[in-house]
């Protein structure tokens, strides 16, 4: 059982508060959606959690270990994986090699100067690609894949580090609707199978309400609602944020 406890996270940019006092707890088995209008602070929130940005104040603890102040690669090593809103894979490598890189990194074998990288951890990489349905494209360059396929490679890369917590920034952006649901169904399966704790942002409300176990609603840097999908959907403040603008 893992637990990511976020308390009173704050961050401003040039006097403008992007994230103002966000607190929540993410546990194994959670598939927690973070939603909100553009500019609500979702991406900033993510960057604070994985160490890309430093918060002005607040704490992020993974099973009691303080993550604030650690660089992204240390936070990753502690078991927090992440996927990016704008896909970030190693474009000059094949699909399999992308996953192999993560496995090599986890095994601390990156400084090897002799044995070809392509021959190391290939089998486990293929197994992970099989899991996300990308095994048939394992030897294609990542730079030529369709957008939705890159997203699936990202998921395989995130899984390769055997995380306990997975942060997914718009995992289905740019995918066709059917693909979106398939990817989130897969994610939900992985959550059950491996006891993952997943936090994701998402624009597609079908995805959010179809798969999330709980939903957080962020508006102008603050959490305005938290609860089950049905509770959140019924919340008048949430409705006004999405449809009204003038609360």
């Amino acid at each position: 059982m893992s637990e990511l406890v976020v308390r009173d996270l704050q961050r401003s940019f040039g006097g403008v508060q992007a994230v103002g006092g966000v607190s929540f707890t993410l546990r194994s088995g959670d598939l927690l959606a973070l939603i909100g209008p553009n500019g609500a602070g979702k991406s900033t929130c993510f960057n604070l959690l994985n160490g890309q940005l430093k918060p002005d104040s607040g704490s992020v603890r993974l099973d009691g270990t303080e993550l604030v102040g650690l660089p992204p690669r240390r936070i990753w090593a502690l078991g927090v994986g992440r996927t990016f809103q704008i896909t970030a894979t190693f474009a000059s490598m094949t699909v399999a090699e992308n996953v192999q890189m993560v496995l090599l990194s986890r095994a601390r074998r990156l400084f090897g100067l002799w044995r070809p990288a392509a021959a190391q951890f290939r089998e486990p990489a293929l197994a992970l690609l099989e899991r996300v349905g990308m095994a048939t494209q394992a030897d294609r360059p990542c730079g030529v894949l369709a957008y939705g396929d890159v997203k699936r490679v990202e998921l395989a890369m995130a899984l390769a580090s055997a995380p306990t917590v997975l942060l997914m920034d718009e995992p289905t952006a740019g995918m066709a609707p059917a693909e979106r649901l398939a990817l989130m169904a897969l994610t939900a399966e992985l959550v059950r199978e491996r006891g993952l704790a997943v936090l994701f942002t998402e624009h597609d409300m079908d995805v959010v309400f179809g798969h999330a176990t709980r939903v957080l609603v962020l508006d102008r840097g603050r959490l305005i609602a938290e609860g089950s999908p049905d509770q959140v959907r019924a919340d008048p403040r949430v409705q006004s944020v999405y449809l009204g603008g003038e609360a």
Partner: protein, 237 residues
């Protein structure tokens, strides 16, 4: 019936390899305010950028005021009288308010209202008080007003307004709506992208709803307000 001021059909656009728009179609008539609506990520911002020529685009039809825009770069589109107000404001922070306006200045154009800094300061009194101030020292609402004023200095006949109410305090949102209505009264046509139904219903004549880069619904604003099904399918939570 005369040709609409802006006609878009079969508009495709890409960000790098990501195919964002797939067949957007819409029209804006003279003196009309049209709201381009849809959820986050539906492609509203990209649609405006594609019309302007700021992203890689292709279109079956992209005509403005009788001219084909589809092969023109952004500065040529702007000089034909299309004014673009970006969502992220992008004021020139190192320049003063007056200098920001100067960058936008273009010669007056027949058939479009002609603006001067003085006329704009009358429209946005807040800006008048800070004409020598640099953009770095302005609030979000003031920046939004300046972006709009700067674009108006080009004397456009069509305004592309990207998410004008986003991230603004309710009071500023009302001022913004008032400004859009005034511009319409001056004879300007407006295409605005908007997530907020209340803002759109306050200013727009018609709405065009898009999702995942495709057109889904178009009709008058009143029809949209009456159609719970469309709102639930494409706009609501």
């Amino acid at each position: 019936m005369s040709e609409p001021l802006l006609t878009v059909d079969g508009l495709q656009a890409w960000y790098g390899r990501a195919h964002i728009l797939d067949g957007i179609a819409l029209t804006v008539g003279r003196g009309e305010v049209v709201a381009l609506m849809g959820r986050n990520g539906a492609g509203k911002t990209t649609t405006l950028k594609a019309i302007m020529g700021l992203v890689e685009r292709r279109a079956a039809t992209l005509r403005f005021d009788g001219r084909d825009l589809s092969a023109l770069p952004a500065h040529r589109v702007a000089r034909l009288g299309v004014g673009y107000v970006p969502e992220d404001r992008r004021i020139f922070a190192d320049l003063t308010v007056e200098e920001n306006l100067e960058v936008g200045r273009q010669p007056p154009r027949p058939g479009a209202p002609a603006w001067t800094p003085e006329k704009l300061f009358a429209l946005f009194p807040n800006l008048a008080e800070m004409r020598g101030r640099r953009g770095t020292r302005m609030s979000g609402g003031e920046q939004q007003m300046l972006t709009l004023a700067r674009t108006l200095m080009g004397n456009p006949s069509l305004l592309l307004l990207d998410e004008p109410s986003e991230g603004l305090a309710p009071l500023i949102v009302r001022q913004m709506a008032e400004a859009v209505r005034r511009l319409k009264a001056e004879g300007l046509s407006v295409l605005l992208s908007e997530q907020s139904l209340s803002f759109a219903s306050a200013v727009a004549d018609r709405a065009c709803v898009i999702e995942t880069g495709r057109p889904r619904w178009t009709g008058t604003m009143a029809e949209l307000m009456a159609d719970d099904g469309v709102r639930a399918a494409y706009l609501a939570v």
